[in-house]
């Protein structure tokens, strides 16, 4: 089982992706989707020596919803910041965030989230993964920002990946 499906979640996602792209569940497409779902993870397995252990689907769903909302809110904030930039330049700053999350996949997910949400860009991670350097578009209160960041993103990711 594990040898045939080194990454079951990836297999299922690729299977779904193929069917969705083709908008069809005909026999031929089911076969191609199954081939993609089985072969792609097998061929990629040597490139991914570490296996991700994903848990807590409910936490994942909540996190995705949360990120979706945050994207909308920060879109509005950054848009306002851009339109007002002439009068009142945004208070951009680098923030050092101490991290407790160590799992490589969790950190990858965190870097995706911070970069997808406008207003924050992942800039650097310490070699021992203890500190993250984040660039923030408009920073009001550093301590409050760090607390919010750790509570909304880091803690759920630790529950999911660690």
């Amino acid at each position: 089982m594990n040898r045939l499906f080194p990454a079951p979640l990836l297999s299922v996602s690729l299977f779904g992706l193929w069917l969705l792209l083709n908008l069809s569940v005909s026999a031929g497409n089911l076969l191609l989707a199954a081939l993609l779902g089985i072969l792609a993870p097998l061929l990629m397995a040597p490139l991914r020596p570490q296996h991700a252990h994903v848990r807590r689907p409910l936490v994942i769903a909540k996190l995705i919803g949360r990120v979706g909302l945050d994207v909308i809110v920060s879109n509005l904030l950054v848009a306002r910041g851009v339109l007002r930039a002439g009068k009142q330049p945004p208070r951009s700053a680098f923030v050092h965030i101490p991290l407790a999350l160590r799992d490589a996949h969790g950190l990858a997910a965190l870097s995706m989230i911070t970069t997808v949400v406008p207003g924050t860009v992942w800039s650097e991670l310490a070699l021992d993964r203890s500190v993250l350097l984040l660039h923030v578009f408009d920073l009001e209160d550093e301590a409050a920002f760090i607390e919010h960041f750790k509570a909304t993103y880091e803690r759920p990711l630790m529950e999911i990946f660690q």
């Binding site: 879109n75 930039a85 860009v121 800039s123 310490a126 993250l132 660039h135």
Partner: protein, 121 residues
């Protein structure tokens, strides 16, 4: 059968509004890229186009074609999903390259976070 070829007026309004909102955010993102001065500040506005801009356009497409074909035509939503996977790769590379170059030319950016465990400044 003919009434399925056209959208009802209220749905046309919804799709048009979504398209306009999406384009507006893409436009503001471009304006930000043009008007902001600092390199790192300018990394943020283009994210407007790849998030809310793309979301609104994809949603408009889903609503429009789902109504026309009388079935859920959801594959446009793959665009936002794939964008959110690929865009961070280039953004991260740009941020890392800019940090490296600015450190080499001794500009005011934070020191490397790995050195000695101290917080830089």
């Amino acid at each position: 059968m003919t009434e399925t070829l056209a959208l009802p007026f209220w749905l046309e309004l919804v799709t048009a509004a979504l398209l306009l909102i999406g384009s507006l955010f893409a436009l503001i993102g471009a304006v930000g890229l043009l008007r902001l001065k600092d390199y790192f500040q300018r990394m943020h506005p283009p994210a407007l186009a790849s998030t809310l801009g793309a979301w609104c356009v994809a949603l408009a497409s889903i609503i429009y074609f789902s109504w026309l074909k009388e079935a859920p035509i959801l594959h446009a939503w793959l665009i936002p999903i794939l964008l959110s996977i690929t865009v961070p790769v280039t953004t991260l590379l740009l941020a890392r390259a800019a940090l490296f170059r600015k450190r080499m030319s001794k500009e005011a950016v934070p020191e490397e976070v790995s050195s000695g465990g101290d917080r830089g400044h």
